[in-house]
């Protein structure tokens, strides 16, 4: 495995909140302007710290939603009984400061130099790091064929709805809705399963590179299905979220 020789220390810094855009009823995208951002790679995350007046602090990690070269942005889903996400989705405003450090992580990362067909599979807010990859591909003029299979509960829950069709030539976005479908829905219905993946996923013979992000049970099931379709485990990169 390649190792990076010298690493800068990840220091906390107060970033200005430059925009807060509502994506869905429970999801916002927050664009940030840290004073000292070294740049990030597509798929990395950053840490956020909130501090109360009495000094109590809470930290969480969030995937970076923007492409490398763009200012860092995070897309946050409000979790019931969450502590940090309700603040970020409901309280935080443009002009506030948000403490962060990053970028972090280097395995769940896509580089345009990899010319394998990209198979991106997202459940819910798991689409966030995959969106960074698709924007990166578009911005760098990449021509790697890419497919995004994106599972949401309902159409109003689909994050980045306005831009899913705008990732450029060679990208196909396929949505499936698990809970309810609007009249005239032409996408897929129901959970991602073996039959759906057989239709949509690049055949293993094309040596695809897969990134799966979503809740644990979703990622486990999708990864098992890709392995069954012949994907080598080392070509299936996963990021799971669960718990609080």
């Amino acid at each position: 495995m390649e190792t990076t020789a010298v690493r800068r220390r990840l220091s906390w810094q107060a970033a200005a909140v430059t925009s807060v855009d509502r994506e869905t009823a429970s999801v916002v995208t927050i664009e940030l302007e840290p004073p000292d951002w070294p740049g990030h790679r597509a798929g990395q995350h950053l840490d956020v710290r909130l501090t109360a007046e009495d000094g109590y602090a809470a930290e969480r990690s969030y995937s970076i939603a923007s492409a490398p070269g763009e200012p860092p942005a995070i897309t946050v889903e409000r979790l019931e009984n969450g502590e940090v996400s309700p603040y970020l989705t409901e309280e935080l405003r443009v002009g506030d400061e948000l403490e962060l450090r990053g970028p972090i992580g280097g395995y769940f990362v896509w580089e345009p130099a990899d010319d394998s067909p990209l198979m991106l599979i997202a459940g819910g807010s798991g689409v966030v790091p995959l969106r960074s990859m698709l924007r990166h591909r578009l911005r760098t003029g990449g021509d790697v064929p890419a497919r995004l299979l994106y599972s949401s509960r309902t159409l109003p829950d689909v994050i980045y709805r306005g831009e899913l069709g705008q990732y450029g030539d060679g990208v196909r976005v396929i949505c499936t809705l698990t809970r309810s479908q609007p009249p005239g829905w032409t996408g897929y219905s129901g959970r991602v399963n073996a039959a759906m993946l057989t239709e949509i996923a690049w055949p293993a013979s094309r040596h695809p590179l897969a990134f799966i992000c979503g809740p644990t049970s979703f990622v486990e099931a999708v990864a098992e299905n890709l392995i069954a379709l012949g994907y080598p485990p080392q070509r299936v990169k996963t990021e799971r979220f669960g718990g609080t």
Binding site: E97, R240, G242
Partner: protein, 202 residues
């Protein structure tokens, strides 16, 4: 000194009885989140072995059955994930790494755990000896589930939980410390949760 987050009051303050068990920056969870970099491997038990190696040589290897015949211990421990959840009072069943190392005639100042799926964490040998680490195959009275690292995972509860490698298949004894999987991606070489050693330089 951190700036105050306007309007943030926080509701995760820890009850006093848990306070001294939660490292800084952690919050307690009652479920058991799963974080892995790739698919969950499934090695059939008849093919499973646990090996101790050094310099490319296998010094000793145990089959699943042989591991089960070694004296096992029940371990109750608080575990701390670098992603900030902690789970207090988890109960495990496994064989102490001391028991395994006692059967080989070699040692080394560092170990690299190796696993199905290619995952590796590096650890100082003194952190996996002296009753501090186990090869765990039981959780909460049941066989350890694959998504949590079954059939067996390393259990090193005093370090961040990425050191407790899932799907562990052996330990390589080493003369030197070199980064394992997450460590090569910027995570801390040692990972003491009480010192918040999350990333390189912390």
């Amino acid at each position: 000194m951190s700036p105050v987050s306007r309007g943030f009051r926080g509701r995760g303050r820890v009850p006093a009885e848990e306070g001294d068990r939660l490292p800084p920056g952690q919050h307690a969870t009652t479920d058991f989140p799963v974080l892995s970099a790739g698919p969950t491997p499934h090695t059939p038990l008849p093919e499973w072995t646990f090996s101790i190696t050094r310099g490319g040589d296998t010094l000793k290897s145990w089959t699943w059955q042989q591991l089960q015949e070694l004296p096992a211990e029940t371990v109750t421990a608080d575990i701390h994930c670098v992603t900030r959840w902690s789970k207090l009072g988890t109960q495990w069943r496994g064989v102490s790494v001391d028991t395994l190392l006692d059967q080989v005639a070699a040692d080394g100042p560092y170990v690299l755990a190796f696993c199905d799926g290619g995952y590796t964490p590096n650890l100082p040998a003194e952190d996996v000896t002296g009753g501090k680490a186990w090869v765990a195959f039981g959780y909460d009275g049941q066989p350890l589930e694959p998504e949590h690292g079954g059939p067996a995972r390393l259990l090193v509860p005093h370090l961040y939980f990425w050191k407790s490698a899932k799907w562990v298949r052996g330990l390589e004894l080493r003369d030197y410390d070199a980064p394992g999987f997450w460590e090569s991606y910027g995570y801390h070489m040692y990972g003491d949760p009480w010192k918040q050693q999350r990333y390189a330089g912390d």
